[in-house]
Symmetry: D2
Subunit: 294 residues, 4 copies
Amino acid sequence: MAFPVRTCALVGRFADPRIAETVGALLPHLHGRGVTVLVADDAALPLGAAVTRTPEAQFGARADLVIAVGGDGTLLHAARLVARHGVPLLGVNRGRVGFLTDVLPQDMLPSVDAALTGELTVDERPLLSARLVNAKGAVAEALALNDVVMQKHDSGRTLDFETRVDGRFVNFHGGDGIIIASATGSTAYALSCGGPIIEPHLPVLVLAPICAHTLSNRPIVVSSASLIEVALQERSDTQAHVSCDGVVLGEFAPHDRLEVRTAKECVTLLHPPGHDYYKLLRSKLHWGRGALER
Amino acid sequence: MAFPVRTCALVGRFADPRIAETVGALLPHLHGRGVTVLVADDAALPLGAAVTRTPEAQFGARADLVIAVGGDGTLLHAARLVARHGVPLLGVNRGRVGFLTDVLPQDMLPSVDAALTGELTVDERPLLSARLVNAKGAVAEALALNDVVMQKHDSGRTLDFETRVDGRFVNFHGGDGIIIASATGSTAYALSCGGPIIEPHLPVLVLAPICAHTLSNRPIVVSSASLIEVALQERSDTQAHVSCDGVVLGEFAPHDRLEVRTAKECVTLLHPPGHDYYKLLRSKLHWGRGALER
Amino acid sequence: MAFPVRTCALVGRFADPRIAETVGALLPHLHGRGVTVLVADDAALPLGAAVTRTPEAQFGARADLVIAVGGDGTLLHAARLVARHGVPLLGVNRGRVGFLTDVLPQDMLPSVDAALTGELTVDERPLLSARLVNAKGAVAEALALNDVVMQKHDSGRTLDFETRVDGRFVNFHGGDGIIIASATGSTAYALSCGGPIIEPHLPVLVLAPICAHTLSNRPIVVSSASLIEVALQERSDTQAHVSCDGVVLGEFAPHDRLEVRTAKECVTLLHPPGHDYYKLLRSKLHWGRGALER
Amino acid sequence: MAFPVRTCALVGRFADPRIAETVGALLPHLHGRGVTVLVADDAALPLGAAVTRTPEAQFGARADLVIAVGGDGTLLHAARLVARHGVPLLGVNRGRVGFLTDVLPQDMLPSVDAALTGELTVDERPLLSARLVNAKGAVAEALALNDVVMQKHDSGRTLDFETRVDGRFVNFHGGDGIIIASATGSTAYALSCGGPIIEPHLPVLVLAPICAHTLSNRPIVVSSASLIEVALQERSDTQAHVSCDGVVLGEFAPHDRLEVRTAKECVTLLHPPGHDYYKLLRSKLHWGRGALER
């Protein structure tokens, strides 16, 4: 990371009025600090905005900091843009904290100032690397912060597939698919599929089947040093694809192979002082005293 | 039902060698009983087979009995063909009983004889009626024995939708979709999504969310006399469809409305003597003494 | 029910300051309406309070109305007192609605007035009847509004037991016990054990295993006209008991038999205008739009 | 470990005829190998059996090897006896493998021979250390291989309690209790409470609430280097105790504190060649191809 920050990229759905309002307060503040602000070529910002329009693909090379304004989905998008460049990310949410975007609008300006001068807590989160190899040897690859998902699509028919961990056969599965989530992603899609909450810095992954036929087919926690492999069984009506953090990587056919491992790259999240993972959980999951009174 | 049975339709994936073997034993037996056998126009049967090739759509009008050879999916297909005609169904499975196909190959011939003479247990199962109304008023309709499912497809993005029961607002949901299952269908897809097992003759339905964001968004059991309505929230990236027993009925867009109610029609299943729902459950779900030893 | 109400019993943990405050507002109001107020002999109320101290066991015979002030546990206690007498119950909660106590303190006085003159919505809820028969023929019996529970106690060892529905064998279970819940009780203990939400007027019960060894041992919805039987397997270290709405009915040993069926008696709940079951669910289970933003 | 083994302790419920039969084959075999066999003082063995009766408490100091014959419960008992002495354990099951007792009777004699000469696979499993501190400072301590459980007993009333990880507040819980399981214990009680399967050598623990009121109160995976603390909220009707691997350690009252951490000691399991954790899972959890045909 380079401090003080001279160039900052802004990521968000600026057409959303709530986001626009937040950005409207943020831009003059950054300007006043002498920071150059990059936004995407096609960003829905007013014409006169004091920003430099740049292809998103260059954010990684040019920005010292990325500020994602919106929900966790926006931060995941920003993370993909800069994952290979080590640019730190600050996530500002729209009224409620997210698992990844934990700065509230009212705390934004002091948090941004602290980010500009390198005073925020640095939180390195490992990425997953997905590799989709088809029968002809062609390869598609992508990184994911939360999860790599192999899932049925289009048809209503379920999938038959098998999983391996470090070459060892784990199981034949029948169901809608499987999630391979990082510890960070354990509170995203995997949680909806019965997976556990995993403290984000533990060296583990979780394999969570999606709507498994076999009810004992429970989520499995494995080492983050493991190679996970998924292959489809041959069936005439199979339609599946692989997605990384919700973005489709490609079709997945019988005889294709999906490989997932921990990437060498990390994402660097910045947190305001007092960041507390369990406080975040309590807020996001509606835990607390009130809930006890049944 | 007309007895004795003079015309019997056979349904199955005859290209599967295990199915073909079963059918190979069944055809001469039916022939010997003087029964005319209907199969689909394009059925993968040997040329010389003593069968009458007929469009499947005519099975309902022409057959006195349908024998489905295969898994529960095959019986669901057969049920759709004859649902509006009240033709009884006998399901022969391929080695393991299914929830709907509970005659084993070795018991097939005596069961068929009993079916021909009307001696089997008759089991009427109500159907669900799905009605998909789009913003322009166009309507698609279908029946389902197990379930009507509204579900995301293609993209990895989840859906925001709302449900109503008899006009009363139930919930805003975020997740992959929702299953409206009959009591019969409670042991199919809904079970994989955390739904309960429901005795098949109870006058109830179950609404089971698929991979709900909110963990307290549990399956709800409602009256089978209720009208269930589902509507999507507007979101730019929404891609959803509705399927009935796994067959896609149509795309489902914001401003469309899905209505599900119990149909007037029933499906008539025939069971061999000694049919026992709980025995079937124990077998299908691997319950039993052995499982206790942990 | 007798209207206008002349005698009203008050039930609650009056030693709790929040309850005492509510009762402090309620007593003069009832007095002003000319209503005689019964409280338990040992009620923790100030000496000068204008109440008639009466054994709780006489509330059923003497009161025209019971007001339960507190949580659902308080209303369950009140329901046991009057179940055999058909006295209606009004439940006032302490700041948050409960499933059974749905009048908030701020709405209490108008709701009480409406209850006194018979203007509230009447909601009849069937009770469960539990019968515990030991090997020597001795019998213990009780009613329950929410659930009858057979559960291990004391030792850490799990139980082996079997269940029957209308004499048909259902399953051998291994685990911590089983809940037989009414539709009303589906949102109480059974929900914590993976059971479904059941609309309270449906003619069904749910059998929900507690921490079952076998993961496919899912909750089962059966007819409320059914007789449910539970028996323990012989094991040297078995320690189990049966409770009704959380109150222990008795020890449960191998060779004992628990029978649960729907009772002839109902509990009559009174609801304020606008009572909406789904609104209650949304509030209690933290459903809603906000929950969608992940 | 000392090889060759000269003294071997046998642990099991010898009164069970299936266990007695296995032991009947084992004793002469060990005798023939010149091994002294220790059994408990009160072991239910025939009078003439060629064994040395010894208090179980001395097994740890005197035996070079312990053979547990029975289920996983028997091996857990044996593990407690020798945990502080590093004596290796071989588990022989009675017909079906357990998670810990993975030698089948028919493979017993060659496995025992291999154990005697140190040829089996050595599998070190960390233990949990539980420390129960009451308000007066008195302390009870025990080790556990699978889990430490704090749980209600006797009454039907649930518990209100709070948890901390390394001093950080995690949550207020309402429910039946909580399981702190090792990775090894993830497939025992914690699995019945919705916990994940965890590969046994990962440096993590799982905190699994038992029948939590709040449905989003999901199992949490934390570092095995963490200190877990549990404390009860004050409530008049609280009755709780703590157990280690199913053996009660003591009562647990408000103002008491339960501390759980990874112990310095390990248990040494011996496995036959070809031991495969995932094969064990597939067998124990009824996974597999057959299960797919729904």
